[in-house]
């Protein structure tokens, strides 16, 4: 999937027409947004805490190699095996290799944007290994074959009726769509058997803590504990930027993460993993592998886009974004949606493929206001737009028309004759003071472009009519 200008517009208009999706998006983003406001308001000196966190993230990225090496050293000392993956394909190969070495046939997974990013499930399935998503929302979209539509709530685009139908198809059991606890219980029973049978668990990671070589996973359902405790092998795939040098840094990170995300002070479970089970532990995995994923991240360090790596994937910017709230996650054509997705997808996966995303913003700045790390997303959206022009990513006719407009607007004479020409040319399309543009130029047809007025303001001003009307001097 990609999201060029045309593709983004097309999917956004499909989403806007979908009344059910609109109400789901409005409900979820409003609930998360107000939950965030209330949760942060309860924290003493929270604005200063956010400033502090910004400094921590920025300082960490400045010396990321050093911190990653410390993490590797301490995680290894605790018995974990650390792997490095330059690309998504490399990461998939590493995970697949571990699975095959253990003869694994069934894998349970907890929610991970990094494994969505590298399409790990497809790779495992192709190799005859069944990956089962166990976060309820992720399981729902896995059954539906859909990509996630929100970083935190991946299945907000699905109704209870669609979910009940899929569950019945999957399990053979009849269940009422109006019985949400019943649907949840059914998922619990089915997935519990998978947890107990799986040969390997795969997770993402919210934070790697260098000081102790620990991996932190946050969740509400408990599936991330089951994935990392029940099978004999646990593999985590983590983006290299998710690093906290110390536990003091991790504590601030955790203080802001759930509050910004779901409006909780902490998620129900904050799961900290430091190596595999020790010989005296009654249970726990025998092997823990941590795959540190680059996939285009390291080359952003030291550039004008480095700041995007400060992101902790809370999803607050999605909830605050007027474009996301209408367009939904799927229009972004990749697992990362909303303002953060609009910046990160072009950077990680190619500006040419995601050329529509830097424009999927009104530049209102709401995303920057709610970001726990105060990431300046609007600035980077503008930088990406400039890059598009420089790299000639836009179609020729769009560049040409932009250039012609720039040329015309720079000269009063050209502007006068140009607008006079358009006044004549618009006649067949003008209806009253509106233009009826063809569908291609006005996708969605939900708004009408105003026609140029019969006389320009300049013309009226020059004629002196205004002086008379207003009584003049």
């Amino acid at each position: 999937m990609t999201a060029t200008m045309h593709e983004f517009r097309h999917s956004a208009f499909v989403a806007i027409e979908d009344i059910q999706l609109q109400s789901a998006l409005e409900g979820a983003t409003h609930k998360f947004g107000s939950g965030r406001t209330d949760a942060l308001a309860e924290v003493p000196e929270v604005e200063a805490m956010r400033d502090h966190f910004k400094k921590v993230r920025s300082a960490t990225l400045s010396q990321l190699a050093h911190h990653l090496e410390t993490f590797e050293k301490n995680a290894t000392a605790a018995g974990a095996q650390v792997h490095w993956a330059a690309t998504g394909d490399d990461a998939c190969r590493i995970v697949l290799d571990i699975a095959q070495r253990h003869g694994v046939k069934l894998v349970t997974k907890s929610k991970s944007m990094a494994t969505e990013e590298i399409h790990l499930n497809q790779v495992l399935s192709k190799a005859g290994i069944e990956p089962v998503e166990t976060d309820l929302g992720e399981w729902i979209i896995q059954l539906a074959g859909d990509p996630p539509s929100h970083i935190i709530a991946p299945a907000i685009h699905k109704t209870r009726h669609q979910i009940a139908e899929m569950f019945t198809k999957e399990t053979g059991q009849q269940v009422s769509a109006d019985d949400i606890p019943g649907l949840t219980e059914l998922a619990r029973q089915v997935l519990r058997q998978k947890f107990l049978a799986a040969g390997m668990g795969i997770s993402g990671g919210n934070i790697m803590v260098a000081e102790t070589g620990s991996l932190v996973l946050v969740m509400n359902e408990g599936n991330g504990r089951l994935v990392t405790s029940t099978p004999p092998v646990h593999v985590a795939v983590v983006g290299l930027e998710k690093l906290a040098p110390t536990w003091d840094d991790a504590a601030v990170w955790l203080s802001l993460l759930a509050r910004s995300s779901t409006g909780q002070a902490l998620t129900i479970y904050t799961n900290i993993i430091t190596g595999p089970a020790r010989p005296t532990d009654p249970d726990g995995p025998q092997e823990v592998h941590i795959v540190i994923l680059d996939n285009g991240r390291s080359k952003l360090i030291g550039t004008k886009y480095e700041e995007v790596l400060q992101c902790i994937r809370c999803g607050a910017c999605l909830n605050a974004c007027p474009v996301y709230r209408e367009a939904g996650g799927h229009a972004y054509g990749n697992p990362y949606s909303g303002p953060i997705g609009a910046v990160i997808a072009p950077l990680l996966f190619g500006l040419d493929k995601y050329s529509g995303l830097p424009h999927a913003s009104s530049l209102c700045g709401a995303c920057k206001d709610v970001c726990p790390a105060r990431i300046d997303l609007p600035r980077m959206l503008l930088e990406l737009r400039a890059d598009e022009v420089e790299q000639r990513v836009l179609p020729w006719w769009e560049s040409m028309s932009e250039r012609a407009a720039a040329f015309g607007l720079a000269s009063p004479g050209l502007f006068k004759y140009g607008t006079a020409l358009i006044r004549q040319m618009q006649r067949p399309l003008a209806k009253g003071d509106k233009l009826n543009l063809p569908a291609k130029l006005n996708p969605g047809q939900s708004r009408q472009t105003p026609a140029l007025a019969k006389r320009s303001f300049h013309d009226i001003w020059q004629s002196g009519e205004l002086d008379n009307k207003n009584g003049g001097e």
């Binding site: 209870r160 949400i180 619990r188 408990g222």
Partner: protein, 209 residues
């Protein structure tokens, strides 16, 4: 060149001096830690039962296990329960003591009605209980049964996650989890449902010591 070197070299080529800020310290000062803990955990659908002392706490556990009509109970062999012969104390139930009982702990936990644990620490601000792995401390005991029952002395209460991490000592064990309520989800139409994968009830017996 290995992927590791390739990545680290790329990062190092843009490394710059940076001053890491001094740690952010907690601004909290709760007048009554137990009160705040109880309020927050209760609001998060957890249950808190207060007891005047350890003896009273054991009586509360007895009442809860009977009320739940529990048959099989798995217990972590850790403070403050480690000195106790649970089989003698509560002969009505079939017990599995982590690290001591014979048999497969995973299959016992999968069929158990209650998992009973102690705690390393409790955070007042967020109503969280910290449970660790270690000798006699099972991860599955507090995860697979439908009820997680934790016995917590008020002396291990601390303000928040910032004060907890500030007091850290030594290297942690394989697993440490902050539990702040029963397992929950809102993934179906944003409707809250309790007990999706982890315990459906999280009951803390908080006693003064």
């Amino acid at each position: 060149m290995s992927a590791r070197d390739q990545i680290l070299n790329q990062l190092r080529s843009n490394e710059r001096p940076a001053e890491h800020p001094e740690p952010w310290r907690s601004r909290r000062n709760f007048p009554d830690l137990a009160e705040r803990f109880t309020q927050t955990l209760t609001a998060g659908k957890g249950e808190v039962i207060r007891a005047a002392n350890f003896e009273a706490a054991l009586n509360e556990i007895d009442t809860i296990l009977h009320e739940l009509q529990a048959k099989r109970v798995v217990v972590n062999d850790t403070a403050p329960l480690d000195g106790l012969d649970v089989g003698k104390q509560w002969p009505d139930f079939e017990w599995f003591v982590a690290g001591k009982s014979e048999g497969d702990i995973k299959s016992f936990c999968a069929g158990a009605d209650v998992g009973l644990s102690g705690a390393d620490a409790a955070l007042a601000e967020t109503g969280s209980v910290v449970v660790s792995s270690g000798p006699g401390k099972s991860r599955l005991a507090t995860l697979l049964p439908p009820v997680h029952l934790a016995i917590v002395p008020t002396s291990i209460l601390t303000s928040d996650i910032l004060t907890w991490t500030a007091a850290r000592q030594g290297q942690p064990g394989a697993n440490r989890v902050l539990v702040s309520g029963p397992s929950k989800t809102a993934d179906i139409e944003q409707v809250l449902a309790i007990g999706v994968h982890g315990p459906k009830r999280f009951i803390v017996v908080l006693y003064d010591d």
